[in-house]
């Protein structure tokens, strides 16, 4: 990922490949953000609290190939 800010595309990939990160981000934003390499400033933590994580998780379920039985 390097030192550049994470891109939208990388976040979409994270949502579809590593949905556990979003559970961590919701449950313990300070720890998750620090472990991802960002400074957990109060402003960032406060902003993260207002995200709709349920909406993000639904993208994972909608695009989950294991739930798509069509050939």
């Amino acid at each position: 990922m390097g030192s550049n800010p994470i891109t939208f595309g990388e976040l979409v990939n994270a949502c579809l490949n590593n949905p556990g990160f979003f559970h961590a981000l919701q449950d313990n934003p300070a720890q998750a953000i620090t472990e991802a390499g960002y400074e957990a400033t109060p402003l960032v933590i406060e902003s993260l609290k207002h995200l709709d994580y349920n909406a993000i998780r639904k993208v994972f379920h909608a695009c989950d190939p294991t739930s798509a039985p069509m050939c």
């Binding site: 994470i6 939208f8 976040l11 991802a36 993000i56 909608a62 050939c71």
Partner: protein, 327 residues
């Protein structure tokens, strides 16, 4: 679960039991492996739930809709044969598709591949019980089965899929689903109705393939598959824009608007088939697609907000990968 779903569930379970018994008579080990594969490809490990899933093409329901519109007494033996044939036919197509697509651990599929021959013969035997070798139904069978196999093979070889290729190839992969539909028309002496019902199968096949293209875009791209949605994304996105940004900006709306337009046409043309159950099914699919549209649009918008927050956040000196990584 409706009464019709309960009946279908027990019939599907009976077919799967018979697969186990047929194969198990010669090789209990092989039967075990094949049943394991069947459970593996079934969401929740339930074969019946697989066939009744909202994302499954309604291969078992379409003949029911035909019979309902004819207002005749259903021939239960014929419909049991259709269900058995269709379940075997689906497993044949699915086994081959999985190997061609290469989207999962294929060790089991390779081991059981010869069983494809059994699935195919059982698929065909289901019709041989009810149609003599000279019956005109077999011409339809041959045409649809050939179209389906040719489209599946050609689709796997495509490097980009414009609308012309989508129409001619990708969306024709569902042609085989027309076989039980045509068989039902012929069985009840209404071969004249088959073309209209086969148009419905084609339209629903096009719609279903596009649903797959949109919702599976991430997996398709990862596996290097060419689809109409991905091809359009590459064509429509701005030079500095990633595919994901295009999907957020307009790709998601473009794809689902197209689905909605196709479904409107499908509903209009299906009204002449005179089946309230079918119309209810199509309305349900339309509402489901609208829900998926909203799910994708809202979820991607939240991810864009998160990207904005992280874009403003300061990168710590901690090397990424020391702890939890995002990607």
């Amino acid at each position: 679960m409706s009464m019709s779903e309960c009946i279908l569930t027990s019939q599907i379970d009976a077919v799967v039991d018979r697969i186990g018994a047929d194969l198990g008579a010669s090789s209990p080990f092989l039967a075990h492996e094949v049943l394991h594969w069947i459970r593996q490809i079934s969401p929740g490990g339930e074969p019946a739930a697989h066939f009744l899933s909202v994302r499954m093409f309604p291969i078992l329901r379409l003949p029911e809709y035909v019979v309902q519109s004819l207002a005749v007494a259903p021939d239960d033996g014929f419909h049991r044969s259709l269900i058995s044939s269709t379940v075997h036919g689906y497993y044949y197509i699915r086994l081959i598709d999985d190997l061609v697509d290469g989207d999962r651990d294929l060790e089991l599929e390779r081991k059981i591949l010869p069983v494809a021959g059994y699935f195919l013969s059982e698929f065909q035997f289901g019709y041989q019980k009810h149609f003599s070798a000279e019956h005109e139904f077999w011409q339809v069978f041959r045409r649809l089965w050939t179209a389906s196999t040719v489209s599946s093979a050609e689709d796997a070889m495509q490097r980009s899929v414009g609308f012309a290729e989508f129409e001619r190839v990708s969306s024709r992969k569902f042609s085989a689903a027309g076989i039980p539909v045509a068989a039902t028309c012929h069985h009840y002496g209404r071969a004249d109705l088959a073309p209209a019902w086969l148009d419905l199968v084609d339209g629903l096949g096009r719609w279903s393939q596009m649903v797959d293209d949109i919702l599976d875009w991430h997996q398709d791209r990862g596996l290097g598959r060419a689809t109409y949605f991905l091809t359009e994304g590459e064509r429509q996105r701005r030079r500095e824009e990633s595919l994901e940004e295009w999907i957020l900006r307009e790709g998601c709306d473009w794809g689902f608007d197209l689905l909605n337009e196709w479904m409107n046409r499908l509903q209009e043309s299906s009204a002449q088939l005179g089946n309230p159950g079918l119309m209810e099914y199509l309305a349900g699919r339309k509402a489901w697609a609208a829900e998926q549209h909203s799910t994708l649009r809202n979820g991607l918008a939240e991810l864009a907000r998160l990207a904005g927050i992280l874009g403003q956040a300061t990168r710590a000196n901690t090397p990424c990968g020391a702890g939890t990584t995002i990607t």
